[in-house]
Subunit: 134 residues, 4 copies
């Protein structure tokens, strides 16, 4: 559904652990950076979605770690929209090395649309249309 | 496989986000705290496994978020060993509120045994026996 | 001003970096854990201060790192109230090893009292009295 | 000592807390990103300094927080070398909004040069020369 969006980052020193590689929790933060850029480039920054009173709450997250990333290594977060309805949105992710675009990790997150009180609240059509656009 | 191990924690202020709840990445850190306590109570602290030159590298992580946790809320990390061979170990997790043990989140992590260079390296029997003990 | 409050923690794996020691940012999170326990034991949990509409915003933080802490090492966060008025509160911290109470790090944070919109808003006397109590 | 180096970042969602602003610990991570870029642009990436067996261990960190940053807000990390000898290096930092370069926070970190075992170990002249270059 629509063109994938890619964002480039580098592994922060604070993201490494004593094994000398990026810690597994960092990938969920990177997925989130990817979602932020995805929404921005589709024309509806996520902070504007929240400003309208809607939240895409994470209800499921999965990551498969294929090979490690090291401090200062440049990588790409590639985000694809797998599915989007007014109630549920699913994003797929790939983490690739910048050097040769080899696959570092892949995963997905499932989100439900809520209001500020955490109650299910369908996304308005204009928001959904933008996210789902080519 | 063996008795589950429970650890109690509280949500740190730094673990909340602007939705006012614990951020999704924190759960992976909590799973890890649970694993540390699991190994300790089975008689083989994880830092000793690493001191012997073995690492349980995370190759897969999954979490289903069922309801939010708030700042300072007390919760329980319940860890169960699902499967353990010399090459692969799988842990299941439940996050429960301390107040009424209601389910907040559940998930799992899959680990492969490696040496310090990240090469597959089967766990020695004494380590495996302790982790798998009742 | 009043009795110091001590809290015990262990270094999380996710708090280490590739030098094999706890990362410098973690100390600010530990200071915060110490403040949370300080307020609780003085009889006014910080989440209740916020529920009343008051925030102790960090305006200055300092830490002197004297020796490293390693994964799974147990340590003590010792918090002392240095100064407290309705507008400004200053906490001092010491991080000590649990093993022999040797000094790992020391520091302080300065806070101003604000409302939810971030505007200066003097702490009510009952809150100030509790924080400042022996 | 030499030209300041500027790096641009955006506040991650995971860096906000329940006050709706970037958490105080994030600034230490941003200072570190700034140092990484400082060294790279002076011609000696920090990972190469470590590859040569030298570490710039943080022994002091200070931050003064002047106004908040919000999710997705773009900001600049401006790093200036205050002092550098073979044994000790001091960096000054300013965090500025990208929008109008207004001052968000300022601070410094003090580092000592060590080897991989954490023992004091003077920086080689070529490294020091590059860091200190205009």
């Amino acid at each position: 559904m629509g063109t994938p969006v890619e964002t480039e980052e580098r592994v922060r020193y604070s993201e490494t652990d004593q094994m000398g590689v990026a810690h597994n929790k960092s990938y969920l933060e990177w997925f989130e950076i990817g979602r932020t850029e995805f929404c921005r480039r589709k024309g509806i920054p996520y902070r504007e979605i929240e400003a309208q009173g809607f939240y895409l709450v994470v209800v499921e997250a999965f990551c498969k770690y294929r090979k490690p990333l090291r401090y200062d290594q440049a990588f790409i977060i590639r985000v694809t929209l797998r599915d989007a309805t007014s109630k549920k949105v699913v994003f797929d992710y790939e983490i690739l090395t910048r050097e040769d675009r080899s696959l570092v990790a892949s995963g997905y997150t499932v989100h439900i649309a809520t209001n500020a009180r955490g109650e299910v609240s369908p996304l308005p059509a204009p928001v959904l249309d933008k996210i789902s656009a080519e």
